[in-house]
C-alpha cells in the first residue's frame, strides 16, 4: 500500500466514523456525539481563525502596513479598540468600532433594502390587468398575485387592530402566507433528502466498499 492510498483510506475511515458519531445523536445524546461535536467545534474555530488570518488580516492589513500604507492604521486602531474589551477598565472603547460597524451597516441596509424590497417589489407587482389580448388565466393569476401582496401587507399593519375590514383582509393575507410556507416546506424536502442520500451513499458504497 502506498502512502497516498493509505492516507485516503485512513481519511475515509475517519470520515465514516465521525459520520456515524453524528448520526448517533438521532437516537440520543451520547459520548460519541459529544466527542464529534467537541472536535468539530475546536477544528472549525481553529480553521476559521487561520483562514481569516491568511485571507483577510495578512493581505488586507499586515501586507499594506508593511508596505507603509499608513491609511491602514485606522482599521488597525479600530481593531485594537475592539480588543480593549478584554480589559474591563477601558472596555468602553470597544463601543467605537462597534458603533462604526453598526452605523455603516445601517446606512447601507437602508439603501439596499429600500431598493430591493420596496422599489423593485412595487415594479414587479405592476402587472397588466387588461383583459384583452391575453388568456383568462394570466389575468386571473395577476389578480391573485395582487390580492396576495396587498393582503399580506395588511397583515403586517401594526397600528390598526385586526378587526372589521382590516381583519378580513389580514386574514386573506394569512391564507397566502400559510400556502406559501407549506409550499416552501414541501419544495425543500427533496434537497434535504438528497443530502441524506449523499451521506448514506458515502457510508454504504465508499466505506463499506472497502471491506
Amino acid at each position: 500500500m502506498t502512502l497516498e492510498t493509505f492516507d485516503t483510506t485512513f481519511g475515509l475511515w475517519i470520515g465514516a466514523l465521525l459520520t456515524l458519531c453524528i448520526f448517533s445523536f438521532l437516537y440520543k445524546d451520547n459520548p460519541f456525539y459529544r466527542f464529534a461535536e467537541h472536535l468539530f467545534v475546536g477544528v472549525s474555530a481553529g480553521y476559521w481563525l487561520v483562514y481569516n488570518y491568511w485571507n483577510i488580516v495578512k493581505p488586507n492589513l499586515i501586507d499594506p502596513l508593511a508596505a507603509r500604507r499608513w491609511q491602514y492604521l485606522l482599521p488597525l486602531a479600530l481593531g485594537i479598540f475592539m480588543l480593549t474589551r478584554l480589559c474591563p477598565k477601558i472596555g468602553w472603547l470597544s463601543r467605537w468600532p462597534i458603533a462604526f460597524m453598526i452605523g455603516s451597516g445601517s446606512g447601507l441596509m437602508v439603501i439596499t433594502y429600500l431598493q430591493s424590497n420596496f422599489l423593485e417589489q412595487i415594479k414587479s407587482t405592476l402587472v397588466p390587468l387588461d383583459p384583452s389580448g391575453q388568456p383568462w388565466y394570466v389575468l386571473a393569476n395577476n389578480l391573485i398575485l395582487l390580492v396576495g401582496v396587498v393582503s399580506g401587507l395588511v397583515y403586517f399593519f401594526f397600528s390598526k387592530a385586526h378587526t372589521g375590514v382590516t381583519g378580513g383582509v389580514a386574514r386573506i393575507g394569512i391564507v397566502f402566507l400559510m400556502v406559501s410556507f407549506g409550499a416552501s416546506f414541501g419544495y425543500t424536502v427533496m434537497a434535504r433528502i438528497s443530502l441524506l442520500i449523499g451521506r448514506l451513499y458515502f457510508l454504504l458504497h465508499k466505506c463499506a466498499g472497502f471491506i
Binding site: 481519511g11 470520515g15 465514516a16 459520520t19 448520526f23 445523536f25 466527542f35 472536535l39 468539530f40 467545534v41 475546536g42 477544528v43 472549525s44 481553529g46 476559521w48 481563525l49 483562514y51 488570518y53 482599521p75 479600530l78 485594537i80 475592539m82 463601543r95 467605537w96 462597534i98 458603533a99 462604526f100 460597524m101 452605523g103 455603516s104 451597516g105 445601517s106 446606512g107 441596509m109 437602508v110 433594502y113 420596496f118 417589489q121 414587479s124 391573485i144 398575485l145 390580492v147 396576495g148 401582496v149 396587498v150 399580506g152 401587507l153 393575507g173 391564507v175 402566507l177 400556502v179 407549506g182 409550499a183 416546506f185 414541501g186 427533496m190 433528502i193 443530502l195 449523499g198 451521506r199
Partner: protein
C-alpha cells in the same frame, strides 16, 4: 466619551454610507468601510478565541459535567492553529488551487507539514461532520412535518395541503397523478410569490426603519443603554 462618541460615530458612519449611494465621489467610503469592518471582525475573533478557551478551561478546572470533552475542543483548536499558522505554507493557497509562494520544502518542513496536515484534517474531519450535520435535516424535516402538520385550523389545513401537493409534484411517483406538476408550479409561482413579496416588503420597511432609528440614536440598546 463613553456614550456620546459612539452615538456620533454611528450617526456619521451611517449618514456618509447613505450619502455615498447618491454622491459618486464618496464611493471610496463604501469600499473602505467594508474592508475595515472585515478587518475589525477578524481582529475580534481573538476575543472569541479567549471566550472559547476560558469557557472550556473553566469547565475543566471545575470538573463540571463532560469536562473531558472540553479537552478535545481545546486540543483540536490548538492543533488547527499550529498547523495553519506555523507551517510555511498557508493552507488556503492549497484551497484555492493557487500557486505556492515561498521556498521549496526541505526535509524537515515536509515532515512538519505532513505531521500537521491542516488540509487533511479539514477534509477528513470538518467536511464529513459538516455534511452529516446538514443531512440530519432529512430526518428533522420528516419529523417536523409529522408532528406539526395537523389540520387544527383553516390556516394549518392550507399549510399542510400546499405542502402535500408540492411534495407530490416534485417526485416521479407523484407526477403520475395528472395535473399535479401544473398545480405545483402554479402554487409556487402565484400564491407563493405573492406572500413572499408581502413578507419582503414588510421586512424591508421594518429593517430600514430600525436602521434609521439606530443611525439617529433612537434605538441604542446595542450600547447597553436604554434612554
Amino acid at each position: 466619551m463613553r456614550r456620546q462618541v459612539p452615538l456620533l460615530i454611528c450617526f456619521v458612519a451611517g449618514i456618509v454610507m447613505l450619502a455615498q449611494s447618491f454622491i459618486p465621489p464618496l464611493t471610496w467610503f463604501y469600499t473602505n468601510a467594508l474592508a475595515w469592518a472585515r478587518i475589525i471582525a477578524c481582529i475580534a475573533l481573538f476575543i472569541g478565541l479567549i471566550s472559547l478557551v476560558r469557557l472550556h478551561t473553566t469547565k475543566i478546572k471545575r470538573k463540571s459535567a463532560n469536562w473531558q470533552f472540553s479537552m478535545i475542543t481545546l486540543c483540536a483548536l490548538g492543533y488547527m492553529m499550529l498547523a495553519g499558522l506555523l507551517t510555511r505554507y498557508g493552507f488556503f493557497i492549497w484551497l484555492h488551487g493557487k500557486c505556492v509562494s515561498g521556498s521549496t520544502g526541505d526535509g524537515f518542513v515536509t515532515v512538519l507539514e505532513n505531521a500537521f496536515n491542516f488540509q487533511d484534517i479539514f477534509l477528513n474531519v470538518q467536511i464529513p461532520i459538516q455534511a452529516t450535520m446538514f443531512s440530519l435535516l432529512a430526518f428533522y424535516i420528516a419529523s417536523a412535518a409529522f408532528r406539526a402538520f395537523r389540520a387544527r385550523t383553516l390556516e394549518a389545513t392550507l399549510l399542510l395541503i400546499a405542502a402535500t401537493i408540492v411534495m407530490l409534484g416534485r417526485v416521479p411517483i407523484g407526477q403520475m397523478i395528472p395535473g399535479i406538476s401544473e398545480i405545483t408550479t402554479w402554487i409556487l409561482d402565484v400564491p407563493n410569490t405573492a406572500a413572499k413579496r408581502g413578507i419582503m416588503i414588510g421586512v424591508g420597511l421594518g429593517m430600514t426603519s430600525t436602521a434609521l432609528k439606530i443611525m439617529l440614536g433612537i434605538e441604542r440598546t446595542y450600547l447597553g443603554m436604554k434612554d
